[in-house]
């Protein structure tokens, strides 16, 4: 169900994005950092779904808050001539890997559990 929604969202977004207007090059740096923030939010949402503690308010506020903060940081970095956006990228990508690890563990456990159950059922069946 969640996977289907994500796929539909991606397809719709790609279709509309292709026909969307271009933005000036100056702002593409900000958009890039916003993309990373959004990607992080998606992974965070998936991980929290897996952990069964998904909260809509936290998710939405995190999505917009992260994006806006990272854009502001990038702007500040450009003014100060320091690449602050690198820090944002490191944080986001690091969290992405963490979340991916949570998701991976959950599904691996599920898979191994199912295998064990199957083998158990097989062995019990043979005994009978």
């Amino acid at each position: 169900m969640i996977l289907i929604a994500i796929v539909i969202g991606c397809i719709l977004g790609a279709v509309i994005g292709i026909s969307a207007p271009m933005i000036p090059y100056t702002y593409s740096g900000y958009l890039a950092i916003a993309i990373i923030a959004a990607l992080d939010s998606v992974f965070g949402g998936l991980a929290s779904t897996v952990n069964k503690n998904f909260d809509l308010k936290i998710f939405v506020s995190g999505f917009f808050g992260n994006a806006i903060l990272s854009i502001l940081l990038t702007y500040l970095g450009q003014k100060l001539n320091v690449d602050i956006y690198l820090a944002a990228i490191v944080v986001f990508v690091g969290r992405m890997f963490n979340n991916l690890a949570i998701i991976r563990r959950y599904y691996l456990e599920k898979w191994t559990n199912r295998n064990q159950n199957q083998t158990q059922e097989q062995t019990t069946g043979e005994e009978k």
Partner: protein
């Protein structure tokens, strides 16, 4: 119910995300074709800016040192009439050489490339006709000098004895600096003479106008400021006899 909510939110977020990615990809692709945005380019640009800054700082230092030198000279020659006279002479000579900022009445004329000429099929036959060449500047400056101009500058570049005006591709090099259209020529001298020397029938301005170069002026201006020559004149081979 809860799962549906999660699915919808994640779907919307993914929707926004892919739109952003698509726009970004498009922007980057387009930018790469028009402007080369490689790291090497940026580094070179930074380097140029740094050198320019250094140059500006040094130039300011030079200006302040010159001022200091001037005041020291004044101090040293205060009680000495002969050296005071010499001092005056140096000042006069520097003014004549174009080493000082000067001000006075004169004329101003602007020569521009004709950018609207492409609408005229006759003019597009030879686009070289409708742009300003180094020869044009030389001819105008020559006419001004002939009329007794005492100080001439082109786009802020003072015309001094060592000035050369050469063509370097699509820009003109004067005093080693590259300048482009529009060319603002300022001259200090007798306004009537300077004006007359330019607008005289058969004069060079008429020729330029016939060639459809954009000519603004000449305008008589009462207070023209002409910058000093900001280079250094070095002599290596000439000696006084």
């Amino acid at each position: 119910m809860k799962k549906k909510q999660i699915a919808i939110t994640l779907g919307i977020v993914c929707f926004i995300l892919t739109i952003a990615i698509a726009i970004q990809l498009k922007t980057i692709r387009n930018t790469n074709t028009t402007i080369s945005q490689s790291l090497a380019d940026n580094a070179l640009r930074d380097e140029v800016l740094k050198w320019k800054e250094k140059y500006d700082v040094t130039y300011k230092e030079l200006a302040s040192s010159e001022k200091e030198l001037d005041s020291i000279r004044k101090e040293a020659t205060r009680n000495d009439t002969t050296s005071q006279a010499k001092q005056e002479e140096i000042k006069q000579n520097n003014m004549l050489l174009g080493m000082t900022n000067v001000q006075g009445s004169g004329i101003e004329i602007v020569l521009k490339d004709n950018l609207t000429a492409s609408n005229d099929p006759l003019l597009t036959l030879n686009p070289s006709n409708v742009i300003v060449h180094n020869i044009d500047l030389i001819e105008v400056i020559n006419a001004l000098k002939n009329a007794g101009a005492e100080a001439i500058s082109v786009n802020g570049q003072r015309v001094v004895p060592t000035t050369s005006i050469t063509c370097v591709g699509n820009v003109i090099k004067i005093n080693g600096q590259k300048i482009g259209s529009p060319f603002v020529i300022r001259a200090i001298g007798n306004q009537e003479l300077l004006y007359g020397s330019l607008v005289i029938p058969g004069g060079y301005l008429n020729i330029l106008k016939d060639a459809h170069v954009v000519v603004e002026g000449p305008n008589k201006v009462d207070h023209i400021n002409i910058e000093k020559y900001d280079g250094v004149i070095n002599f290596k081979y000439i000696k006084s006899r």
